[in-house]
Amino acid sequence: MREVPRRYRVAARREEFPGTTTLDLQPVEPSPAADFAPGRFAMLGTFAGEVPISLAGVESYPTLRHTVRAVGGASAALAELGEGEELWLRGPFGRGWPVDDLVRGPVVIVAGGLGLAPLRPLLLALEARGVALSLFYGMRRPEEMLYRQEVVGWAARFPVHLSADRADPGWSGTVGVITRPLAQAPIPAEAGVALCGPEVMMRLAARLLVERGLDPGRIYLSMERNMHCATGHCGHCQWGPWFVCRDGPVFRYAEVAPWLDLREV
């Protein structure tokens, strides 16, 4: 906490859709190698504030990719950063996806909205290791699809189920919540699962998958809580007996299921 953060520069930026930007960040000064594993996150800061943002990919280390949705002051300032502009980074923090367990395959990936960002590096890592994948990706509207080009490519290589809460007649995915296709599509009972999205979505999806015979010990989900320190000292991210910043953000469903059902913990 006493340590100052590291300087990064926006090497490239891409608007995914209005208000949501993917940034490629390059360290300004040489920094020690760090473990930016899929599912971990960093604290990204500008003079407008510092917020937790997941790692969305490491295309060529040490350049890091992050996708930011502007929802308030701090996130808007990040999403609006231009190429060449500086920001700071602390981290990486937390426990990411258990790649070693999931690589035993097959794997079902379930994303809601921005939840696809932390799942992207996992998906890429698993595909590179030959794991049989399927993706269920729900968004509010078809225009709010992240990584559109990549998603099209994925759909050509493995089953991709898209769903939008609202859509025009031209939409080829389903309309409604993502749990609907999840309930109907063929899913092997031995599959591992990675979930990230709104808490209700994760709760319903996990429950449904367990009902379909999947092992709750191999269902993983990524939680979101308010964070200040990201090192387990400020108390803000507490969720039941856990510090989400340190013990998570990725949790095993079998361990947290009862807590997901409690309100306001």
Partner: protein, 380 residues
């Protein structure tokens, strides 16, 4: 290590030695109607001849009728404000020509001697330090301040009105390695302290005071004084039964009792301010008007505020019910999962300083009683 007798009139010599050894001496001082911990230059700064009366939601000072320096129990605010200052700057940043420049904050080094730390508060300091030590990036600033501090503990020869250390095994006898342990004695001799050193640093201080030896009578008087406190505590025990506590709370997270407590709780955060183990803090960035300079501050925070659990869309814990439950269950159950023991040392401060007198031990007893009644009904 070594033991001796410090005559009451030589307490000043001890305080003087601590200052001379380079410590900033902090001890109980009277501040209006209450005792706080603050700088102590000499024994006249101590609340001599005063005792504190503590009850749920009530605190007042009374003459003790004797010349005791430490006739009171725990002061209102805990020691944490010295080890974990409620506001401190962590670093500064400047933006020049689009570049960021960072300046690390170098902290002024202060070595504290805490004079009059009670057994429960020593445990509180230990538990708070364990939180700082945990995780991938320990809070070295706090740990440095703790490591350089000298503890002059005082054993309780009287039980406070709201405390329950015996239930948690944190007192009244000082069982942790404090540097010095004092027991204030009035019986079987003149007003004096049985002084015991338990570390090298403590032994050195005692050596410089060249104390007279402690006799059997003194040791027996000290043992009796602490035993009397233990008896008082035992008479009202158990306020907090530890057996099955964590499991009880996990079974009762949806009890209607939380709503009843929430009906009284003002969400004022007093309980978190006075608790020696409460560690929640916030990171706050302050920028100048031009947006060229930024200061990062660390400040104390409380789980009773709405912003505390804010995520996009609103606070996770919107209701007072959820916040009070978070506070109590964290202290007595989550803490055990996080750090291997409860986060309560039984000092009673949260009970005394709650404006409406909510007593966490009573909440737990009610939960236990209702659960027992309900299971009794089911069996019938």
């Amino acid at each position: 290590m070594s033991t001796g007798i410090l005559p009451a009139e030589r307490l000043d010599a001890l305080i003087g030695e601590l200052w001379a050894a380079g410590y900033t001496v902090i001890g109980p001082v009277r501040e209006g109607g209450a005792l706080l911990y603050d700088e102590v230059r000499g024994s006249e700064d101590l609340p001599v001849g005063l005792v504190d009366r503590q009850e749920g939601g009530r605190y007042f000072l009374e003459p003790s009728g004797d010349g005791r320096f430490f006739g009171h129990t725990v002061a209102a605010t805990p020691w944490k404000r010295f080890l974990d200052p409620p506001r401190r700057r962590l670093w500064r940043a400047e933006r020049r020509n689009g570049q960021l420049h960072f300046l690390v904050e170098t902290e002024e080094e202060v070595r504290f001697a805490f004079l009059g730390v009670r057994a429960c508060d020593l445990h509180g300091i230990r538990i708070r330090s364990a939180v700082a030590e945990a995780g991938p990036e320990p809070d070295e600033a706090l740990l440095d301040r703790r490591r350089s501090a000298l503890m002059v503990a005082v054993q309780c020869t009287r039980a406070g009105g709201t405390c329950f250390c015996a239930d948690l095994g944190t007192g009244p006898a000082v069982d942790l390695p404090a540097d010095l342990v004092l027991t204030e004695l009035l019986e079987d001799g003149p007003h004096r302290f049985l002084a015991e050193s338990r570390t090298e640093a403590g032994a050195k201080i005692l050596q410089r005071l060249s104390l007279g030896p402690a006799g059997e009578v003194d040791r027996a008087a000290a043992a009796r004084a602490v035993a009397a406190t233990r008896r008082t505590l035992a008479e009202r025990s158990p306020r907090l039964e530890r057996e099955g506590l964590r499991e009880l709370l996990y079974r009762q997270l949806e009890s209607p009792l939380w709503d009843e407590v929430a009906g009284r709780c003002l969400s004022c955060a007093n309980c978190t301010l006075v608790c020696p183990t409460c560690f929640c803090s916030a990171v706050e960035d302050v920028t100048d008007l031009e947006g060229a300079r930024l200061e990062r501050w660390h400040r104390a925070d409380s789980c009773f505020t709405a912003e505390f659990s804010q995520i996009h869309g609103g606070p996770v814990r919107a209701s007072t019910r959820a916040r009070y439950r978070q506070w109590l269950v964290h202290k007595l159950a989550y803490w055990s999962d996080q750090f291997g023991e409860p986060g309560c040392v039984g000092c009673g401060r949260c009970i005394t300083w709650c404006p409406v007198g909510i007593d966490l031990t009573e909440v737990v007893r009610d939960l236990r009683r209702r659960e027992a009644e309900e299971s009794g009904e089911r069996e019938r």
